[in-house]
Amino acid sequence: MAAFYIALWGLAALLGATAIAALVWAIRRGEFDRLREASLSIFDEEEPVGEVTDRFPGQRF
């Protein structure tokens, strides 16, 4: 019985390990070096910061 609890716990640990491995990978790749640029990466010239992109149909702004 105990072996299965430990196996289950090990599985959870494995899942946690994937998260930590991904975190280390991300730090090494410099993913956290340019945070401002990353936060702006969803905007572009056509839909820049300051542009509202959703309205009820038929509404103008």
């Binding site: 609890y5 936060s39 509202v52 959703d54």
Partner: protein, 491 residues
């Protein structure tokens, strides 16, 4: 880049615009398939939910046919909602977000729509099997295990598509939503496969099976629906209001703490059960640690919205998404508190838990998915939603319905739990006490059904392009621009 705009056509704005049209169009077939299927399952799940809810206060209702007994209808409702509506809306949104965030076209144009078809067949088989009495009777994974291979195939294709887009991405930054999406698609298969092995093979039996069951079930919420929901919120709130997320640092802290803590929380479902105390304590610690990502995400979304709350009046997407984000905070706070032994001994095995589950899957995830579909579908189909009025009906009936549902069952569940802990109160008195609140649940269910019908009607008209035609990549009319051409039937 803008200095070249005058000399080199096409202008950067035009290039961006073309790219976005191409990206959105590349998603059309796959994502519309997933969304349309999701809406269908939402209706199926709603009917099953109503039947189950009415049976709770009127046990004779449809009791003569074994296919519609409570023990079958309720898990069929869960399967239709989780694997039909929730997962299909989630996968549709996930693929569209991946395409947008990597600035890539959606690859595998034949395989991906095929996965939608296979997914539908699998859920259809699963729901019918449950109604016919072939449920595995393990909560959240009632669909017979034979379907695992089909789900597995679909997920494998979705992973392949995501990796392909990510590897050849045009954007040099990884946006916070992408972390969440990758979390979802890598963790879910791991969970699903492990759960199948632990639950359907002789490897585990008895109390171990329960532990595996709740580790899986809780993680489906936390590592499948939650990351897809939060990825959507992190993309759509900034995108709709046109303002970057308040603190990008916090957004990353929120993701990595969720990634590290959530997976431990599942065993809090078994507090008081015949399991080793350490296993449960680990679950409680994991649940309480979840305060870190939750507070982080809540503060961040609130600060992003500060000064922009007036947009809620004008944007359907924002309404649904912000409602969902607020409920994420609420449900997570509630969840952490519920995992404490002192609270759990009252709430466990009561209607309180049902209210909590719906606050998570409905008020948070489903509402965010509604918001996403309102944003994405017009961009895929180049058509406007045909009626603002029906969108308002959808929002207010579902928002109010959910509030009534939650308030009624939370109150009833708490009182029910307190009474059950008092041995002097006869059990039947407790059952009778809950009946009016169960009626309030059915009333709330009717409200939500009205909302779902409104939504299905809107989506049906979107598929038939009954709304105004949109020539451009966005659905917004600017002052002075010619009005969009009505394609008939629009307002």
């Amino acid at each position: 880049m803008s200095s070249h705009a005058e000399t080199i056509p096409p202008a950067p704005e035009e290039r961006e615009r073309l790219t976005r049209i191409q990206i959105d169009r590349s998603c059309r077939q796959t994502v519309v398939w997933y969304y349309a299927s999701a809406v269908f399952w939402l209706l199926v799940g709603t009917v099953l939910a109503l039947i189950a809810s009415i049976k709770m206060h009127t046990p004779g209702f449809l009791a003569d046919w074994e296919w519609l007994t409570f023990g079958r209808v309720r898990p069929a409702h869960l399967a239709a909602m989780i694997y039909g509506w929730g997962s299909m809306a989630g996968v549709g949104t996930l693929l569209w977000l991946q395409a947008r965030l990597t600035r890539n076209r959606l690859p595998l144009p034949t395989l991906l729509p095929a996965t939608a078809v296979i997914w539908n067949l699998t859920v259809t088989f699963g729901v019918i099997a449950i109604l016919a009495g072939y449920s595995t009777s393990i909560e959240w994974i009632e669909i017979p295990p034979a379907t695992a291979i089909l789900f597995g195939f679909c997920i494998a294709v979705i992973i392949a598509a995501s990796i392909r887009m990510f590897r050849s991405r045009e954007s040099e930054h990884t946006y916070v939503s992408q972390w969440y999406l990758f979390g979802a698609i890598f963790w879910f298969p791991l969970l699903y496969v492990s759960a199948q092995i632990f639950l359907h093979t002789p490897a585990a039996a008895g109390a171990v099976k329960a532990a595996a069951n709740w580790w899986f079930a809780h993680n489906v919420l936390g590592l499948w629906f939650t990351p897809i929901g939060l990825a959507t919120v992190y993309y759509l709130i900034p995108k709709v209001i046109g303002r970057p997320v308040h603190s990008y640092h916090l957004s990353l802290l929120g993701f990595w703490t969720l990634a590290i803590f959530y997976n431990w929380a599942g065993t809090h479902h078994l507090i008081g059960g015949p399991l080793p105390a350490w296993l449960i304590t680990v679950g409680i610690v994991g649940s309480v640690m979840m305060f870190v990502p939750v507070i982080t995400v809540a503060v961040n979304h609130h600060m992003t919205m500060v000064g922009n709350f007036h947009h809620l009046k004008h944007s359907p997407t924002l309404r649904f998404v912000v409602y969902g984000a607020m409920c994420y905070t609420a449900v997570s706070f509630q969840g952490s508190l519920q995992s404490l032994r002192s609270v759990n001994e009252i709430t466990h095995f009561t209607h309180y838990t049902i209210a909590h589950a719906h606050l998570g899957v409905y008020a948070f995830f489903t509402m965010v998915m509604f918001g996403a579909i309102y944003y994405v579908a017009p961009r895929l189909l180049n058509a406007e939603w045909h009626s603002a009025g029906w969108i308002r009906v959808h929002f207010w009936t579902t928002a109010a319905g959910m509030a009534i549902y939650w308030l009624g069952l939370t109150w009833a569940g708490w009182e029910q739990g307190r009474m059950m802990n008092d041995p002097r109160i006869p059990f039947l008195d407790i059952v009778k006490y809950t009946v009016p609140w169960l009626w309030s649940r059915s009333a709330a269910g009717v409200l939500m059904t009205v909302g779902h019908l409104a939504f299905a009607w809107l989506f049906w008209n979107m598929l038939r392009k009954r709304g105004a035609y949109l020539p451009g990549p966005t659905l917004l009319l600017r002052k002075g621009e010619p009005a969009a051409v009505a394609a008939g039937g629009g307002e």
